[in-house]
Symmetry: C2
């Protein structure tokens, strides 16, 4: 095969990188920490974005667009927020370049220094709440249910394609409500939308839970997250939804007249997922042959590869393929016919395995004679011969089957790698030797959480919403605990 | 009416601003020169974007995403390019904020100064051609047909909502080709895509032409543009497509092995339209009552307004409206039912006129008795009674009719305001008294063009591609000319 992929066992991190780069999803750019999302990767992201956008609109949200730049003074208004983001902000200080008078080329024009520096948005709560101030007077103006698709910048020192980059693409919902209950309900609604999306579209099982205080979003009262388990036993936070209380309303003085004609601060939520989901998608399903895509997110669901020696054979194959493609298209299936003449079938097979196309159909002169095609599924690499006149219905059910199989496989993996522990020794052993999700009792204090992190690098991913209450003791302090938290090493 | 709009005659510029703000399309933000695109405005932009995206994909293009930040050294590589953009660049110089040790709040951390400043992209030729260098080795890697939807920043001193803002949204196509012919063909293909979009979707007639040398894109060999005429007699450049020759390939050393195994520089195009189209849309069709939208771009095509006194009457109306909406939806028409109880019908009528909803359907108790509804069209403000069982088909043809009428009205306006002149005196008189497009012979020199601009503020909008050759004399110098150029005052 032309494009060798490092195996997962050999080097998991290199395996991930190989897939992202060699399958054509993304590449490093010449700009420190920023990536280029290549057409194939972007086509997958577009499918994710379109489905999420649809789900946001179905739940009553509208899109809008707010400025990229945030004046430093706004940014500083909410204390916890600025504390959380100040250390990773790209700052615009000048608005002009000029020719260096000493002939040193193009330089920043010091005469064009901004009076107030502008922060490139790492998230938009501050600029949006500053705007909402002029939009909200009375309870009749509420709720405001707005989402924005945008690029954001967080200056990361150690970056990884999709998982952690200085610039990334995301959506950020920002809603304003008249009551606390309504805002909490919204924050929960949206984490459930993310969970549904992860399960039904990405074929990725996730656990919904609340973050501990120290892992909360900077400025939030409560942060909900969905947590997925990757094949190396590390957790990945795939989406968050925040109940912001009245923190931003107070920072930006956003009040409304309620039904009783009293002035009250507005309640808020924000919620987001990003191109990080692309990394989660890759690491949940792919194998040592390359990317594996759930059919619902695959830009091409079925690829046809002709097997032929002569021009005549190719012509005969092409004629059959053209008919078959029409049938598949009529069932809403996306296809590609790769009749490039400068690559052998075997090379193409490897290429589409690398790119994760869910179904490959090969067809040669003998198939023409027998009225068959060879169908290979990417998830299990199994092959079968199928009669041409049954191809369309076979593929429809095969795609459903692959989608379900990927989810079930990932769910089984997670279940195999979820461990309940009762002692700290057991905890340390599991984290060190196996990884995965570890369910343990914890006394609820940031101090114990910090100690565990210090000892083991494991963090609390979340306290699952559906975790039953039970009497237990903190694995570290022995203090009483009512619920287990999920601990894991994390991306 | 609650929201008064300044009339066009009184103050055209204020009229434009009133419509954009009061119809809820956009608003100024607290960030100098940046705007907030509000949900209603963004919904229109989404319709434009989706249709354009569809047309780009139909012509073989794929989307991708490149970094927001461009290292200053890349930016400087193409001489004409940096010359054109250096004076309006937002520059990132630091990557961290900190608490001021002297208690002055949050300040830029001087220890976090970038070694090389980053320019916030005003356009992406440089970062993209730096990337293409590693993607292109042989003619087999060509053509590359990529588009990007993105935000860009050009530091403008005088800004106007949609028409000229420091940050705006756009798409930029960047293609790479093996031959000059193919690149020229691509540049022409895309300006034609823009023209088709303007005509068929925006109902906006445009003239396709080439820019004069002094109006070309910085770094282009040839710039094609589409030019529209606004209601105040000023021209608006609505889209551009550039044949870039080998300029960027040379600046970034991008060569390929051609079929004859010789190394050659790659040929390039770039092309873009932006949220400026929103301004063009507003100014082409709207009137003193507010926004007028072509049905194909209206987020809501038909609004139903109930007219009632009692709860019983409202219930009866609502029942009929529910049935009618289902019928319209089945024909692909988007509708809204405004049953808010805190506004009178007259207030709602004015609001939907302001918002440019193409068709308004009012229905009251008497309509229920008679089986009718009152249908009002936004473009002419005409009303008619229509039988309920004929509403769906009436609306289908009415929407087509409005779309066509808007185009024809705009085309007639342009034709009435296009003047052929033979002398400079005539030219000056028309520009000063009427405006519009002025067709005049010009000797082809930048000097004459500059003189005309100095005298009259009129610029060459383009030399139309379909302008027939004719023997003429330059209106200023009397030198021979083969073609007329279009002159106008412009946005």
């Amino acid at each position: 095969m032309a494009k060798e992929i490092t195996s997962r066992n050999e080097n998991y991190s290199q395996w991930y990188n190989d897939i992202v780069v060699k399958a054509g999803l993304a590449d490093y750019s010449a700009v420190r920490g920023s990536m280029v999302i290549k057409p194939y990767g972007f086509a997958i992201w577009e499918k994710m974005r379109d489905q999420l956008d649809h789900m946001f609109k179905e739940t009553g949200h509208q899109n809008a667009y707010f400025p990229l730049f945030i004046p430093k003074s706004f940014f500083s208004r909410e204390a916890a927020h600025v504390e959380g983001f100040a250390k990773e902000c790209a700052v615009v200080t000048h608005y002009r370049l000029k020719n260096d008078p000493n002939g040193k080329g193009i330089v920043v024009d010091e005469d064009a220094k901004l009076e107030e520096e502008l922060v490139v948005r790492p998230t938009s709560e501050t600029i949006i709440w500053n705007t909402y101030k002029s939009w909200i007077q009375s309870y009749r103006d509420l709720p405001i249910l707005i989402n924005q698709w945008a690029n954001v910048v967080r200056w990361e020192m150690r970056t990884r394609l999709f998982l952690r980059t200085a610039e990334f693409l995301w959506q950020e919902g920002h809603t304003a409500h008249a009551t606390k209950e309504e805002a909490v309900e919204e924050a929960e609604r949206m984490i459930n939308v993310y969970s549904t999306f992860a399960r039904e579209w990405m074929a990725m099982p996730v656990i919904i839970g609340k973050k501990s205080e120290s892992e909360r979003f900077a400025g939030a009262v409560d942060t909900y997250s969905i947590e997925a388990l990757m094949q190396d036993g590390k957790a990945l936070q795939a989406g968050t939804s925040h109940f912001l209380g009245q923190n931003f309303a107070k920072a930006f003085d956003v009040k409304f007249l309620n039904r009783e004609s009293q002035l009250e601060y507005v309640w808020a939520t924000s919620w987001g997922v990003s191109t990080r989901l692309m990394g989660a998608l890759v690491m949940t399903h792919s194998d040592d042959n390359g990317l594996v895509l759930p059919p619902k997110l695959a830009p091409t669901q079925v690829v046809f590869v002709p097997v032929y020696k002569s021009e005549e054979e190719l012509a005969a194959v092409s004629e059959v393929v053209a008919k078959l493609r029409v049938e598949l298209h009529s069932k809403g299936i996306t296809t590609h016919y790769d009749d490039r003449d400068n690559y052998k079938p075997g090379f193409k097979f490897a290429e589409y395995e690398l790119k994760g196309v869910p179904v490959r159909v090969a067809i040669g002169p003998r198939d023409i004679e027998k009225g068959t095609v060879e169908v290979a599924r990417r998830d299990t690499l199994q092959k079968q011969f199928v009669s041409q006149n049954q191809l369309a219905e076979t593929v429809v059910s095969l795609l459903d089957n692959i989608q379900a199989n990927l989810y079930n496989r990932a769910l089984e993996f997670r279940e195999r790698n979820t461990t309940r522990v009762e002692t700290y020794d057991e905890f340390k052993k599991v984290i060190a030797e196996n990884g995965g999700f570890v369910l343990a009792h914890w006394d609820g204090t940031p101090e114990t959480e910090a100690l565990i992190k210090e000892d083991t690098k494991a963090t609390i991913r979340c306290i699952p919403l559906d975790m039953p209450e039970e009497d237990g003791k903190c694995i570290v302090t022995g203090k009483p605990s009512k619920k287990r938290a999920i601990f894991a090493l994390a991306y």
